[in-house]
Amino acid sequence: MFEIIDENKKQYIISLHLEEISMALELKTHIVEQLRLFSKETLNKSCVDYLIKLPGNLEKYSDYEFCVDFEHIKYMAPNTKQRFLKWLQNLPNVKISHCENFEHYEEIKKMGIIENDILDYRNAFNDYGKKYIIDNCRDSQGHVTQTGTELGIYIDLKRIINDSIEMLRWCYIIAYDLNNYFSLVDDEPEKNNLLFCHTMNGSYIAGILSQLLGYDLVYVDHLGPYNKLNKVDFYKGKSRSEEFIIIADMVCQGNEFLRAKNIVEYLGGTVRGSAGILKLDISNVLDPYQINVFSINFTPEEAVNELGYSIRSKLCSGKCVECS
């Protein structure tokens, strides 16, 4: 369901961990058992049943390079092992990545499958994500922002959000990067960091991340243009001396981030940084912060040249080079 197929590079990349998490969500057990979904390490029968039907038409992909990414998968349901290994062996030009911790690694190695840790899902997502935004999320009708600036094109991330498969894929990537960060820096990815959200899109992303990573969330409903707090439901027990990650759909100039940061600090918390779907790297607002995790980053050059993104203010009055 979440495979990335790159027709130019002729690559077909599968993340076993993401497929497994998606199955778990559909089976609904996480809501009963209150799971931290990202810590799932076992590939289960329902997921293997799905995988063996992939890809539907092998002939179509006979000249493709297949990569099965095992990252975060350590075990598998024992009674599906034979079928899974058979499926893996039958994939044409198959490569595996991050497989060392998988319980049947030695057997897979004996099958002569090539290992390639660079050809993994996270890396493949960079190209996929950028292409997806360029192809699907640009709206040339423009948009006036809350801060009065005018955007040449509007990036409509609700196109991702309204699609359940895409939304889970993008949130998984954020969770993946945050988990990596906390594994390296805090050596404790399961520590209860707090997610802070103050927009509709941010709340939706934070809600999904909360299920994936097991963190609680705190919200402000809503942050107005002049730091006006309307309906602050900051629960007392969670507002003091806590560390927060501000969750946003998109960070561009960083104004909203700064406003959210002010609120968090005013209420006694500390901001560790920001996480979200998309960052246009045209501001250095996030630079001093430890956490700076986005599914996709566009450099300023990419934002202008590939996305066609531009910001104008009323002060411009048509006198700048671009306008004239």
Binding site: S22, H30, T42, S46, P78, N79, M200, N230, D233, Y235
Partner: protein, 583 residues
Amino acid sequence: MALRKIMHIADMHISNNAGDESLLQKEKYVEDLIESLKKIEDLDTLIIGGDIVDKGGSENAYESANEFIERIRDELNIKHILCVPGNHDVNRNLLMGISGDKSTKSDELWKYYDIKLKYYWQFAEKNKLNIYSHSGIVSYEILKNPNIILLGIDSTDRIGTKDGYGFINLKEIEEGFKKIFGKSREKYQDYIKIAIMHHRPIVYESNSQTIIENNGNEIGLYGTCDSENWEKAKKILLEYGIHYVWTGHVHGTQSGQIRPFDFPHDEINYSTVGSIGIDFSKELKARLTPEKDKDLLDKLEGLKCYGSLNGNHNAYNIWTISDGGLVREEQYKYIIDEGNRRWCLWNVKDFEEEIEDDSSVFGTEVMDVPVNNKEPENYEEKILDIVREQGLYKTGHYHWKNSARLNWIDTSYFFQHREMMFYIAKGFNELFEKEEKLKNVDCIIGLGIKGTILLSYIRFLFPKKKCTYIPENKKEYVRYEMVLFNENTEINSIAVLTDVVHSGNTVKTLANEVYKKTQKFQNINVVSIFDSTPDGRIATVAGQARFRLYPLAKLKVTDCPGGCENCEIYIRKLANVIEYKED
């Protein structure tokens, strides 16, 4: 392909105290059991998951257990038996006997494995059962063709004179595994590895609210192991390739307990079998009187499975295992069939799909009898408990620009605690599965930030439904916010998620906006945590869509009698007044 059948029983509870006898001490019951087992071909292995005797037992009780083992071995041609001790096998009298000794610390009596389980070890020796150690791995059995290794683990490690959680001696099992499997785990690599222990590591659903006590002290949830200890033990089991854990202790077969099929997050596949010996009729008779407990007795009449009201029952499991792995679990129960009791194949779980189904191998009829003695979850009660405990019902005058209320429910606590959100998501999921109107909605909409967070928790439960979210109370929606709704979209019925429904004004605004876009009157189903409407409905005017409310809890909140502008208390700020400038 070689197949092997293994029988798993637990909780025999044999007792020589008058009135406490086990069903295994009743001739008719044992005869029925053996007759039913005779129909199962190729059965040659028996696993006993602890509690051979009741309440610590005595040597005499074990004598009755010996008789049962002898009979079942002879009549069924059982060749392999593996047994583990349970908490009832710990003899507290023997431990109390040494507690007066100055060299023994009263809180460390559990360490005296030889003494506390003295009669159990005698029982094992008498029946020539393998004993590997007196703690950690107490026994193991190697079966060939198909190759299986059964590992008996003692989960009564910390049980001394007091009962308590199941606990495993981690050092002992690790050392035991090293010896059995070799330091580099080189031995038995291709074997199917199954651990057997008495305590079910996770809470048994029917008993999840039962707190066990000892001398008035609460000591834990019934049917669980110490969670920290179990997490560590689980890691060791997985390192040695053990993915199956079979248990007893809770007296009920956990329907659908076979992981990872139903609980795909866990790396271990759990199976728990009901009690083979407990006579539930005594327990019920002691608890019920015809005058006072008519409802319960009526419910009991409705039970088709011989057991107790909370879902416990007499049972045994038969496992079929092939070279490729576990093939099938058959759960047998002692049932009441038109007044007669008999053993019946109750439920079957298939594991390995590649194996061709040959019903002649797998035997008898399958009764289609639902096991559903569980009370439905009372969401309202629990949610109102949280409101009470956390002080979420705020008193005072709450005034907005266009509306005013006396008192207010602060729902933020729910949204900021993940476990509460999961609970609410579970409640919403049940509503969507149970209510026909909700089942058929075309689109689910989160209303406002809170509705959006609620949507994020249930969105992936319904991946095929259209979902979006919309801000509250906007005078005009920008087109990005209403992107799902246009004249071409086939949306006839929507569900709106929100935290509290009061006047319904925000929902009405949303309904109007959707109408403007789609030019269709929608059926609006409002799913909320609280219904605080004065009369349980949202008033509609002619031509408007119909609203249906589906709250998890009802908690009435009154409108301010003075309204927005004429309330003296608000105007003069006489009492607790909370003012919101915007609606």
